[in-house]
Amino acid sequence: MAKSRAFDVRRQTGFVPLALLCFAVLYLPIILLVVYSFNAGQSIAIWEGFSWQWYVKAWQNEKVQDATILSLIIAASASVIATSAAVMAALATTRTRGFRGYTFVFALINQPLMIPEIVTAVALLIFFAMIKVATGYTGLMYLIIAHSAFCIPFAYMPIRARLQGMDLNLEQAGADLYGTPWRVFRRVTLPQLWPGVLAGSMLAFVISLDDVVITEFVKSAGQDTLPTYMLGQMRRVVTPEVNAISTALLAISVALVIAFYLLSKSGTQTNRE
């Protein structure tokens, strides 16, 4: 012990200060953003006392209200659709010997992670413009489908991970006892899979809620979500109202991410038992 204190083989000169600097850099801008959302004054740099006024202003702003509702509708729909599709896809691609077309399926599912968002956004703009002209429909479905697509890989990952760690024997037993496939899935597979499903749907929700680029290109007139509304605001003189909206959105994301972390942690622990 004394020796290791004298000469720590893990030590590298300057690494600890750099790492701590990294954490400071990651959090300082966010902390300042949150702090100034409570500023009594107009400024985002000069502190003039505590106030809730910007939250009240944001809350009463009708455009913010509409954008919030739209964001939540899209995120919830996309999360449900993406998670359902991801559960089925995960059931088909895990616990099986490789099959023909596996590489294609894998590439397709992970494609939204690899292709630059701006390219997908442009592609959807063109494609949906054609459909809009052909059908005359300009509703929310375009945004919901587009969001579902890029949420699928995020929902798929934790579900697949959970499936791979699961015990096949229970399902086999269920089938041996003449359970129909659907019954076995509902009574045996799904309860075990549930933490993965929950985690996947939360990730999908966060990803949809945060999206700017694809939404900006796909939305029809009057379909601003919270992020695209904020992007529009940033061209003007920014007041702490944008800080207040950001802080609220941050709070939702952080809460969901921490819940996701605890969920996946408890999942691996029960697996070890």
Binding site: M88, A149, D210
Partner: protein, 300 residues
């Protein structure tokens, strides 16, 4: 009998896959083909396209075309935007590596039960809104922002330094938003690192720098390559960060593409630029897959 159950299993598998594949083909992959087609059409007067074959868009990506109206010919600008995109993305990747590597090392050398918490601290900003994080950077570096106010308050400068709407601002912003993507794979590679190797090296009188360069780095190199790709690729296609922090003055590829669908009213050119960006990204990914494959081979 076995044959029959095999076909059944196959049918069941594709049935289960169909919703995901249909959504992805409809709203992610399929439309990419239309972009390719659009890049070979003629631009319409008010946006959109005229269905007439043309390779003009592809020429316009790089070659200057002299119209009577000078305002329409800015291919020089295209090349400088390409160059800026590559330059800033490389700088972002380099800075992210310089900061991310020690951070991953730091986390990997914490006690086992503390590592998850440190990693969570890296991942929380990553899962929060990219626009908000960009906005947070903007607030700090603007002329009336905290950095300038502080420097003026301390009497170090008397005029605010113009940081916002510069290439520095874009690089800083991209570094800030993509840093976790560098830390994550390096940490994953380092977590399994066996420190008895380092001990052996020290017993053989290696210096710390030599241990880092010759023992630790070669083993975590696949993680470094993965991290570099994960930072470089989204930086190259970045749209939000250069728009907010570059303020429409310092365009990157993403903004140039958007411009063609907005004020530019040249959809085919926008399509050709998108395919170009996609091609560069694909080359980067192939280089990565090759490099990762070679690493795996050499390490058995």
């Amino acid at each position: 009998m076995a044959q029959a159950s095999d076909t059944q299993a196959t049918r069941r598998r594709w049935l289960l896959l169909s919703p995901a594949l249909l959504i992805l083909l409809f709203a992610a992959s399929g439309p990419l083909l239309i972009v390719v087609i659009y890049s070979f059409l003629t631009p319409g007067d008010y946006g959109g396209v005229v269905w007439k074959f043309s390779t003009d868009a592809w020429f316009n990506v790089v070659v200057e075309r002299d119209f009577f109206d000078d305002t329409l010919s800015f291919s020089d600008a295209h090349l400088s935007i390409f160059w800026r995109s590559v330059k800033l993305s490389l700088m972002t990747t380099l800075v992210a590596f310089i900061v991310g590597f020690p951070t991953a090392y730091f986390i990997a050398t914490r006690p086992k039960d503390k590592r998850d918490i440190w990693m969570l601290l890296i991942m929380i900003p990553f899962w929060t809104n990219l626009l908000i994080r960009t906005f947070a950077v903007m607030e700090i570096i603007r002329n009336e922002g905290v950095v300038n106010s502080l420097l003026i308050g301390l009497g170090i400068i008397d005029q605010p330094i113009q940081m916002l709407f510069t290439e520095f601002a874009i690089t800083l912003g991209m570094f800030y938003v993509y840093l976790p993507l560098m830390v994550l794979p390096i940490y994953a590679a380092m977590e399994r690192f066996d420190f008895s190797l380092v001990e052996a090296a020290y017993d053989l009188y290696a210096s710390r720098w030599r241990v880092l360069r010759r023992v630790i780095f070669p083993i975590v190199k696949p993680g470094v390559i993965a991290g570099s790709i994960l930072v470089f690729v989204p930086s190259l296609g970045a749209y939000v960060t250069p728009r907010v922090l570059g303020g429409g003055k310092q365009l990157m590829l993403g903004n140039l593409i958007e411009l063609q669908f907005g004020q530019g009213r040249n959809w085919p050119l926008g399509a050709a630029l998108s395919i170009t960006l996609l091609a560069i990204v694909m080359v980067a990914l192939i280089v990565y897959v090759r490099a990762a494959g070679r690493e795996e081979m050499s390490h058995g």
